[in-house]
């Protein structure tokens, strides 16, 4: 097939041009900016009637807490939610994008979304970016085939588990799950266990902290319990506020009025409409 001389842009795929530039800059001594990471403890477990997801609410930028109360449990579909650990922008963007694709898919098929669809869309995307999209996800939901819980790693591999943890606080949370998880938990037992696991991450991992968010998904119903537990309330130094007795000394006062120094001269014709 002959092309008529029109320059066709390359289709699809990631353009690695800027990576060469970045390498060159690092060699010259430039420090790359650090990403806003969600240190994070995220967990999920399957209980008798469905899935419970939990997450902490601290977002870190290196050693600084950038957001004390961020939302790490993302909406994917009315019956599917996803917790995200890793680079905050990556988890937000990738869950948003797949949530959008799922909505179009629902219109196209006329059916409710299945967890495995979200899983496949996410892992396809992450794999195609070869791990550069730093998003580690715990995906859970209840669809027509039952409750499902999956973990997705930044490089695109996935696991299907009855209970799962991800993020820097995952070891602390997993120790709680391994000790106390059993099949057929009730809703209250499940929520208690998830909260305990997240708290374990909050108190033992520097990258996690602040509050506990919980999301309970059952057949045909979901409950998003934002700030279910707040084990780190702010205590203020003084409820009366501060009073400064020693005022700042005024040494000198100089007022410069700003006047317009613009002259308007009409030259040429007015522009035609």
């Amino acid at each position: 097939m002959s092309q008529s001389g029109v320059d066709v842009p390359p289709k699809g795929g990631f353009s690695f041009d800027l990576c060469k530039r970045n390498d060159m800059l690092i060699q010259k001594g430039l420090k790359a900016p650090s990403f806003l990471k969600t240190g994070t403890t995220i967990v999920g477990l399957i209980f008798k009637d469905g899935v419970i997801l939990g997450a902490d609410t601290r977002a870190t930028e290196g050693p600084i807490v950038a957001d004390k109360n961020c939302e790490k449990i993302h909406y994917m579909a009315p019956n599917i939610y996803c917790c995200g650990a890793g680079t905050a922008a990556d988890t937000e963007a990738v869950t948003d994008m797949v949530s959008s694709q799922l909505r179009l898919h629902r219109y196209q098929t006329g059916r409710d979304s299945r967890v495995i669809t979200a899983l496949t869309l996410l892992k396809k995307h992450l794999f195609s970016y070869q791990g550069h999209v730093s998003a580690a996800l715990v995906l859970g939901g209840v669809d027509i085939t039952g409750p499902h819980l999956h973990t997705i790693y930044p490089h695109g591999s996935t696991d299907t588990l009855p209970f799962a943890t991800m993020g820097s606080g995952s070891l602390a949370a997993m120790s709680v799950f391994e000790a106390k998880y059993k099949e057929g938990l009730t809703r209250d037992e499940g929520i208690k266990l998830v909260a305990e696991a997240i708290c374990s991450g909050i108190f033992n991992d520097l990258g996690s902290g602040s509050n506990v968010d919980i999301c309970v998904i059952t057949k045909g119903h979901k409950e998003y319990l934002r700030n279910y537990m707040e084990p780190n309330p702010r205590t203020y130094v003084s409820s009366k506020g501060y009073s400064f007795t020693k005022k700042t000394e005024v040494l000198r006062t100089k007022i410069t009025p700003l006047m317009e120094r613009v002259e308007i001269t009409e030259v040429g014709e007015a522009m035609e409409e």
Partner: protein, 247 residues
């Protein structure tokens, strides 16, 4: 659009200044099954004839989500967003393609601005797509006219989009086989302060005017949207109720 060998447009001007392909597309629309829409004070209703080509056509399907699709295989009225619905006259397959594109555009808007797309914007983008197919290489214009019904912050709205890509806002409109009779009927019956239920009755009466054979819930489709901003296709049972009221 268009392969390398067809980089020229098939829609070209005639000496009289008309785009003949678009005229032909409008003829295709005019020979399609009648559809109509009415904008009431508190909502919009769109309706269409649904005559299956033969009694041998298998109507049932296994679709389960009743909110998005009826339980029938062939559904002419479709959702573009939760608060915008659309019906057509003309070629069904062309309609399918347009609905798919429009849904994607609405979703892209939603992704970017985190709010539902206003009706006028979606209509404009759909109309742009239809116009592109009249000025691109190797493609033909769409053989459908659309009636888009929606309810957003500006209230209830009804738009008609033609194969040329032009769109108009209507208080009430009809298209397809019976267009002239239907429009005359609507002109007589339309009132500014009509309510949604009255509009549905009027829509049924208008369809009845030019209907060949017995009108029933199996051979018409009705979609409505009210102040709740949720577009819904009526179930056959609900259509039966309205038909009984009209008798």
């Amino acid at each position: 659009m268009g392969d390398s060998q067809y980089s020229f447009s098939l829609t070209t001007f005639s000496p009289s200044g008309k785009l003949v392909q678009i005229e032909h597309a409008l003829t295709a629309v005019g020979s399609g099954q009648t559809s109509l829409g009415i904008k009431a004070s508190n909502g919009v209703v769109i309706a269409t004839e649904k005559k299956l080509p033969s009694i041998l056509v298998d109507e049932e399907s296994t679709v389960t989500n009743v909110n998005l699709m009826s339980l029938l295989q062939v559904q002419k009225i479709q959702h573009l967003t939760p608060n915008i619905g659309v019906v057509y006259s003309g070629m069904g397959p062309d309609f399918r393609v347009l609905v798919r594109k429009s849904r994607k555009q609405a979703e892209q808007y939603n992704r970017l601005y985190k709010e539902p797309i206003p009706v006028t914007q979606l209509v404009r983008e759909t109309a742009t797509v239809m116009q592109e197919f009249t000025q691109s290489g190797g493609v033909r214009p769409f053989g459908v006219s659309l009636l888009v019904a929606g309810y957003d912050d500006k209230g209830p709205q009804l738009y008609q989009v033609d194969p040329s890509g032009s769109y108009f806002s209507w208080k009430a409109s009809a298209m397809g086989k019976n267009v002239s009779n239907a429009k005359t009927f609507l002109e007589k019956r339309y009132t500014e302060d009509m309510e949604l239920d009255d509009a549905i009755h009027t829509a049924i009466l208008t369809l009845k005017e030019g209907f060949e054979g017995e009108i029933s819930s199996k051979n018409i489709e009705i979609g409505k949207i009210g102040a709740d901003k949720v577009f819904r296709v009526l179930t056959p049972a609900e259509i039966d109720d309205y038909l009984a009221e009209v008798e």
